[in-house]
């Protein structure tokens, strides 16, 4: 016990055991969070209606994937959806949205969490009339392209020179993200779209 070698062996074995357990859990988790896995929907979910409902059994709100609901009036094929998502993520990384916003609660805390942004009532209540848009996705695109023109309060989002293409891809990305099962985060999210 008071010999270093005893504890050296202890350090090596406890680390090794934990690392092995972590590897197994990682393999399982990765299969659950691939697009189309147990917890994360396929990218073509952007063609569907997405709701959010409390599930008493899990004591948490879960996304509900409904029937067809086209985005920008288009139906995206699987390949198109893949490409769109890739572009959306690239736009998000290149502008470092995560250094103001959070995604699933990770990032910076200067601006609202984007996990369920697609389902937020604010688009219908405020930004659709403000941007004079007929659809939610149109309002989002207009906001993203010119956020400094449509502020809701004192802290504003800067113009990040997003193109129309970038903005559409981001909207699609946010729609897909809102369909991910996040074990009930953010807590008690109040959406108007809980069919």
């Amino acid at each position: 016990m008071n010999h270093p070698a005893f504890w050296r062996a202890g350090a090596i074995s406890s680390t090794a055991v934990m690392a092995v357990v972590l590897i197994f859990l990682t393999i399982d988790s990765l299969s659950a969070i691939q697009a189309g896995g147990r917890n994360v929907p396929d990218y073509s979910v952007i063609n569907k209606a997405i709701g959010y409902q409390f599930d008493a059994k899990r004591a948490a709100s879960v996304p509900i994937i409904g029937g067809e609901e086209l985005l920008f009036g288009r139906k995206y094929s699987a390949a198109e959806a893949d490409r769109l998502m890739d572009h959306g993520k690239l736009a998000i990384q290149s502008r470092a949205c995560i250094n103001c916003h959070t995604f699933f609660g990770n990032g910076a805390y200067y601006a609202p969490d984007l996990t369920k942004a697609w389902l937020d009532p604010v688009w219908k209540q405020m930004w659709m009339p403000m941007t004079q848009s007929a659809t939610k996705e149109e309002a989002m695109v207009k906001f993203l392209m010119n956020p400094e023109k449509y502020p809701t309060w004192g802290r504003m989002m800067p113009n990040l020179k997003l193109t129309r293409e970038d903005s559409e891809a981001i909207v699609a990305y946010l729609k897909w993200m809102s369909a991910i099962d996040t074990n009930g985060f953010p807590s008690g999210f109040k959406t108007t779209e809980s069919k």
Partner: protein, 465 residues
Amino acid sequence: MYRSQQLALKYFIAAIALFGIMIVFGLLASAQYVHMGFLFQVLDFSITKTLHIDTMILWLLMGFMGCIYWFLPQELERDVEGIKLAEIMFYILCTAIATVAAVFIFVQYGGSNEFSMWFINQGRKYVEAPRWAAIGIVLVVLVFSYNIVATAIKAKKITGIMGVLMIDLVPLFALYLIAFPRITNMSVDLFWWWWLVHLWVEGTWEVLIGCIMALALMQLLGTARRIVETWLYIEVALVLGTGILGLGHHYFWIGTPEYWLAIGGLFSALEPLPLLGMVVHAVYDAGTHHMKTTNKPALYWMMAEAFGNFLGAGVFGFMMTLPQINLFSHGTQWTVSHGHFAFWGAYACGVLSVVYVALQKARGLEEMNGIRWKWSFGLLNFGMIGMVGALLISGIAQAFYERAIGGSTIQAFIDAQSNLWFLQGMNARLVFGVLFAIGYAVLVYDLLTIGGKHRTKQAAVLRPA
């Protein structure tokens, strides 16, 4: 002094300078919370904050490297192999950091294409640096590892601490490679990203600072090698035994399966145990030496490291690590409160301790003392505790108003940010931040002048060695 120790001093100078730059951008970012529209579309929050946290990672890493370059030749009783290369890498690293900082400030962001990832900003928290610079960091770390391994081989000697250090550098380096790929799926992206962030700060870094503190302890208090090595192994067993699966406390809400709620909560709840052990050990060591040493500032910073690590990581982490709590506290100023306290306590204080250890030797001082280090020690720690207290209040208010009663929508976010408790917390954070900055100024002044007149005379005697 060994040549490697001269390089260590350069690393310390760079680290302390970056520490200052970090404070400047931290203050700017917190002013942007308090004063709406401050530097809007000039130097937005995302930029100031990126510079703040990236310089934080860099100054700590450079501080660690300085510590190792300082102790390595002493430990192996010979100068470091490949030191010339290491010196060149130091300047390359500094140039790269300056270039990236200039790009962040003046270019800020690029279009939605791979060029931006390679040359402007990768847009992932803590690892924003564009890929070319990330490759530079890889090279620096490779040379650093080469220095250590080659020196050990040449010296035909490997101590227990060196063994832990060398093994630790392998995962530390491997995890950094997560900085490169661009992953479309946000859940998968964050899954790996947390391997990098958590397994660094609650795993490999914790082991690294353990090695550094062990080396410092032997020098500072003359503790026997057998003791510090045994203790180091125990710490490693406990830290990695709990911390590896503690990773699960970041897998509650990112799309990962439900079993992480139990695994992450359980193992991360055990993480404070080794930190408690460190505090008890620090009290033991200081007590058996009656706080007597020729290097008071180093000893005080070392004590601050043990206590800060326990309070910042152990206590503040434990408050929000159970999933039922984390559901509300996750991604609020509450997190920021813990993040500051933990990084400060666990790493910043440790680096500062070794800087004082090194200065004593470099300047050939029999005794390190005076009034200035006390002021800087007091102001920095008081400022930090004030900041994390203020952030805790803001964070709790945010969890309460935005999440628990607000329904987590954008409107709920805005309501919480406009709440009086929240705003007062943000104001107080800025005020304490200024105190902290004053403490930093005193620190720099002290580091430059400590030893006063004695130093040149005595250092001259030592230098030829």
